[in-house]
Amino acid sequence: MSRYDRAITVFSPDGHLFQVEYAQEAVKKGSTAVGVRGNNIVVLGVEKKSVAKLQEERTVRKICTMDDHVCMAFAGLTADARIIVNKARIECQSHRLTVEDPVTIEYITRYIATVKQRYTQSNGRRPFGLSALIMGFDYDGTPNLYQTDPSGTYHAWKANAIGRSAKTVREFLEEHYNADIAASDEETVKLAVKALLEVVQSGSKSMEIAIMKRNQPLKMLEVDEVEKMVTEIEKQKQEEAEKKQKKAKGSAT
């Protein structure tokens, strides 16, 4: 294996591009990010990194806007994220100037994925160690959520997670996401919060939630709003647990 994992442009005999696969491992070292798409709202939730005492917290951000109607959450190498965000922002403005229309979410996702793929096929470069969740509304009002990974692939999702413990969060989303939740803005936001609570140990203080509604700019939820939601969710969980206990006692007797 070591003969085929040093150069990005070399396939192994069984078809692996090890540098790309290693880049996907780098993504798992980043903290969790979750995205949920509703019918009228899109939500991004991220696990906030603990900042050092003397560090300015506002400079450590996992959610960035690309344009007024597009934003992105990412997981992986911090520096790679900065480069991709800068490229994407320039592309959004370039598109506006050239075509006189804002980018569609699919267009900017495809652009980011193309940049990433180029770095998997160039000599002397390494892939970006970054996965991104890109969300927003197209000019026709359609909400979208896309995910890209270091290989340069991209897909649309109803709900997805990236970063550490992404598998656990994705399984939670698969179990709980349905059309009724997507129809309600409040339930969509709650689903993102519940999914994050599966892996975030310290509750609302370690979370950042961003929402975007049709024709509105990105809004970061305040700490007390998130706190209130988490308290409500925990109360609901407790009530459900008590109901289950009563049922179990009832069936035992």
């Binding site: 070399v10 798992k28 000599n123 413990s165």
Partner: protein
């Protein structure tokens, strides 16, 4: 030298004799550095608990804080005075905790083990508990997708009683490094020892990986029945927020 597929292979020229550099392998010398209180005495604990690696060390440090373990009693340093293993004692003196976060070269392991057991005397009733961690990608199984991460596996010497709650480490998976060397020593010297390996997505300590060891907290030597679970969790969070765990490379 360029190979057929465009990769560059390092080739050492046989025409030139390399001069011996200062970085060449030097015979390992491990030095005891006792704290002022312990002097040069031997320890005969009921339990020897050794944590190797960042994740087990984090769990053990949290546990030691909860049980108010005595301070550092002795260290093993290498020839450059870098700490290889730190030893700590519980307040009752029945448990010795060892923490090692340094990578030790395989050819130095046996010397190190001899040094450890020079001072820590394991009698008939002494049990050894080893904690280690590895990434799940080094775990060989038919289907990784079916495993819920993180998970624990154990290995034990023939003198150790059965471990019912945790699955055994199955072939072809192997224990490696310092913990494997200690297990070999214990098996040869008929000491009851058990090794618990935590397989995680990442070997960086985070709440999920540290809590993976919580399966052990119901049994000795980690039983802390007087400490509520919330305090354990808050200790873990404090540990994870410490400067050692704060890094900006990944976001």
């Amino acid at each position: 030298m360029a190979a057929f597929f465009g990769e560059v292979l390092p080739v050492i020229s046989r025409a030139v004799e390399d001069e011996e550099s200062e970085d060449e392998f030097i015979n390992p010398e491990f030095i005891w550095k006792p704290s002022d209180d312990s002097g040069s005495k031997q320890f005969s604990p009921n339990w020897l608990v050794m944590a190797v690696g960042a994740v087990p060390a984090g769990f053990l440090q949290c546990h030691m804080e909860l049980t108010n373990s005595l301070g550092n009693i002795v260290e093993i340093n290498d020839s450059k005075e870098k700490t290889i293993i730190g030893f700590y004692s519980s307040t009752c003196g029945k448990v010795i905790y060892c923490i090692s976060s340094t990578y030790i070269l395989p050819d130095k392991l046996w010397c190190l083990i001899q040094k450890v057991f020079e001072v820590v005397h394991c009698g008939e009733n002494t049990q050894v508990c080893l904690l280690d961690a590895d990434t799940v990608y080094n775990y060989h199984t038919h289907s990784i997708a079916k495993l819920s991460l993180p998970f624990l596996r154990h290995l034990k010497t023939s003198k150790h009683p059965d471990v019912p709650d945790i699955d055994a480490l199955s072939q072809p998976n192997m224990a490696k490094g310092l913990t494997a060397a200690v297990m070999s020593y214990c098996q040869l010297n008929k000491i009851a020892a058990a090794l618990y390996i935590c397989y995680t997505e990442t070997v960086l300590p985070d709440a999920a990986t540290l809590l993976a060891f919580s399966k052990l907290t119901g049994e000795e030597p980690f039983k802390t029945s007087k400490v509520p679970k919330e305090e354990s969790l808050s200790r873990i969070k404090l540990y994870l927020q410490s400067p050692a765990n704060n890094q900006t490379l990944y976001i």
